[in-house]
């Protein structure tokens, strides 16, 4: 399964040229929030449209960035728990059983081209120019 993790631009570390580990860390209640890309597509939506529908940004000008990661890239021992979001997104899952240290290792080695940024309902590969503006 391919999983979508929404990333906030505030977590980009310009000095290290990567996203900080806080972008992919267990919540206090446990688990890391993700969305099934397959489920999104089954609903007849794009990822960006889905994010806009169920996870609207605090300000309309804030573009959503997302990371599409393969389930098989997760460390051994993980579990995927389907749990509708508070916004009633049935495609929402929590990744359980991944230690923050392992999640950090996964996050910080991601290259910029592994992320997408939403623009006008579609998305393109994230570039440094997107992060400057």
């Amino acid at each position: 399964m391919r999983l979508i993790r929404i990333i906030n631009v505030v977590h980009y570390d310009h000095r290290k040229q990567r996203f900080a580990s806080l972008a992919f860390k267990n919540s206090t209640g446990g688990g890391i929030s993700v969305i099934s890309q397959e489920c999104i597509l089954e609903q007849g939506r794009t990822v960006c449209h889905h994010i806009k529908t169920f996870y609207p940004p605090p300000t309309s000008s804030e573009p959503a960035i997302f990371w599409a990661l393969e389930e098989n890239s997760l460390p051994t021992g993980y579990r995927l728990e389907q749990q509708p979001s508070t916004s009633s997104d049935i495609c929402h899952y929590n990744i359980e059983g991944v230690a923050d240290k392992s999640a950090r290792a996964l996050m910080i080695r991601c290259q910029l081209h592994e992320f997408q940024i939403c623009e006008n309902g579609t998305s393109h590969t994230l570039t440094t120019e997107d992060l400057i503006s």
Binding site: V10, H11, R15, S27, Y55
Partner: protein, 129 residues
């Protein structure tokens, strides 16, 4: 005197629940004050390159940079600290559950080891004088 990291920490106090696409908690005053204290300490000890990032669970990350060296302190909402040290691309240290006092003493120790210009002075003799 780098002030932008301090201003960035202060700006976190304006973030409300669900500030990040349905995730994100408000920051409590204690964590904000500890982050400010850590950044002020780092600046006073001569760190020129610092940054800070808001966590989704009310935690705050403070980062220090010196050439290829990188230190990361995550001030968790339960009061504990996660400490990371990287040399270039390699993570050399990752420690969880540390007390806040560790972060302050570690920043001091790093500054002394790297002979940073504490309070703008090149040597401790000038600081004492």
């Amino acid at each position: 005197m780098p002030t932008s990291t301090l201003e960035k920490v202060q700006s976190f106090s304006k973030l409300k629940d669900n500030w990040s696409f349905g995730e994100g908690s408000e920051f409590n005053v204690q964590i904000l004050n500890k982050a400010l204290q850590l950044v002020k300490t780092a600046h006073a000890l001569g760190f020129q390159e610092t940054d800070t990032f808001p966590g989704l669970n009310g935690e705050i990350m403070v980062t220090l940079y010196l050439g290829q060296d990188y230190w990361e302190f995550t001030l968790e909402s339960d009061g504990s600290v996660i400490f990371v040290y990287e040399k270039g691309e390699e993570t050399c240290v990752y420690e969880e559950g540390l007390p806040f006092e560790f972060a302050i003493s570690m920043v001091t120790s790093i500054a002394l080891q790297n002979n940073l210009p504490i309070f703008g002075a090149k040597t401790m003799t000038k600081v004492v004088a």
